[in-house]
Symmetry: C2
Subunit: 326 residues, 2 copies
Amino acid sequence: MTAPTTGPPPASDPPTLLVLDADPLPRLGRLTGRARVEHADEATLAERLPHADVLLVWDFTSHAVRHAWPGEGPRPRWVHTASAGVDHLMCPELTASDTVVTNARGVFDQPIAEYVAALVLAMAKDLPRTLELQRSREWRHREGQRVAGTRACVVGSGPIGRTIVRTLKALDITTALVGRTPRTGIHGPDDLDRLIARADWVIAAAPLTEQTYGMFDTRRFGVMQPSARFINVGRGQLVVEDALAEALTKRWIAGAALDVFEHEPLTADSPLWGLPGLIVSPHMSGDTIGWRDELGTQFVELYERWEAGRPLLNVVDKQRGYVPGR
Amino acid sequence: MTAPTTGPPPASDPPTLLVLDADPLPRLGRLTGRARVEHADEATLAERLPHADVLLVWDFTSHAVRHAWPGEGPRPRWVHTASAGVDHLMCPELTASDTVVTNARGVFDQPIAEYVAALVLAMAKDLPRTLELQRSREWRHREGQRVAGTRACVVGSGPIGRTIVRTLKALDITTALVGRTPRTGIHGPDDLDRLIARADWVIAAAPLTEQTYGMFDTRRFGVMQPSARFINVGRGQLVVEDALAEALTKRWIAGAALDVFEHEPLTADSPLWGLPGLIVSPHMSGDTIGWRDELGTQFVELYERWEAGRPLLNVVDKQRGYVPGR
């Protein structure tokens, strides 16, 4: 996706690039002399935001942008977030403004797809139980499940969902992809219940929007097969966690894996840690060695486009809350 | 692989089919009236073997055939083992005899390849540690490894090794396959050290023969990269277990997974259960739901060929100890 340039050259020269997060950023050295780099944390963001030309949301776990965004006053003309999701920064004022928002589309696709394949195969081969038996030094032969020929329903038709489909297909898993808008090779929301009702693997990889919030609820878990497993690598709020807990406890489904949660980090007292048949991981599916470097490189490349007045890439449709797909 | 028929029609009518193992066998009912089915256990095998036309080694964990095989006297003209490996039954007298040996070639290929993919992905994504942290309710973000672009060396060029290669390639892993005889797409033993020296994943899937016994020893683990992981889904005796223990303890390699062992089942006092970075599983890589059924079907199909005087399939080269490949 490309978009028109973001208007006249910046007011300051070099432009002020405000970075949310004080951590050292790989690759940003390439912009020396071409950007005045300033850092902000959650406490100083509101004060610094009006003076910035560009905001780089490097700490993508923060919700500070939403709270600090200036209403009508001076504001950055471009916001980039080093994440696939943008739900943590969007607010009505930002949506209404002419500020362009871009995301890290592309960086996480393959790592997340591999992570999903790792979970699917681990559950099929009963690997968590194998590790448990190893700890108690018990030799107990069991039968695994063959994944070839099983059926997956992937919810979310962006590049992450599509890469998951490609990876699962490579393992001879039959896949169906569900998106907001039906088109060639992609089912619309109307097909969702029918598809998850016969899926062995239901995989959530959708952006968090008004349409997807809480979509995996008691009714949806009730539709799934008792042998089905559910995996969420999208956003925690796609899932009603209590409903999943009930589905697992009552064996409506055979298992689940969550990499994202309604509240992150998950606190030690969360009942989710101990749910039967649930694998809990700390929002790491997209994060492979070298990922920060890739995020830095991607931002620098976008900055060079912006600097040259060329159209930006990965431009988020602020109404919809994601980069519209091909 | 096909072979000539196994000589004149059987002495008894219907032929005597001796099954090593008293467990009920799926699919054998189809032979009712066409075979006199008798069962033997380790104690009675030697006594019954001379009266059998066919021996079905259904309990493939047993080494009883090797000990009970009659020297020059009457003996089955065909032995089938419900396993890929034949090392547990071969003895000089059986090798020298005109008895045909067949195996379960084909049944285990895809399950084992999926199992290897499960282990590769689990190790790349640090899944064992994730499950450990889950038990202690600790949220600790880590970076996984991207498997795409990594390098695997698969040792063993039979159908199992070749299916592993195909599956890993589907995950965009660069693969090299090593067999006994170099041919198109398959490296010979001379390339082994060079290939394992640069592999991220070294996967043992070879039959147990004089050439492969103990091939993964101190020297070979010493050649591997510190970041390498080793997986054995072949036979336990391919690996010098003490050498692997040393390699893991001294961090010569980053991790390993063993599904097969020198002595099975592994006893509770084995130090292997607790080795750092080692995943222990109970010889289950090829065993997926329905596998006994498949093994039964495969044997019945072979029996029908034998009965009709047609060439058998999956005929083992008794000198080499495996079914020679295409």
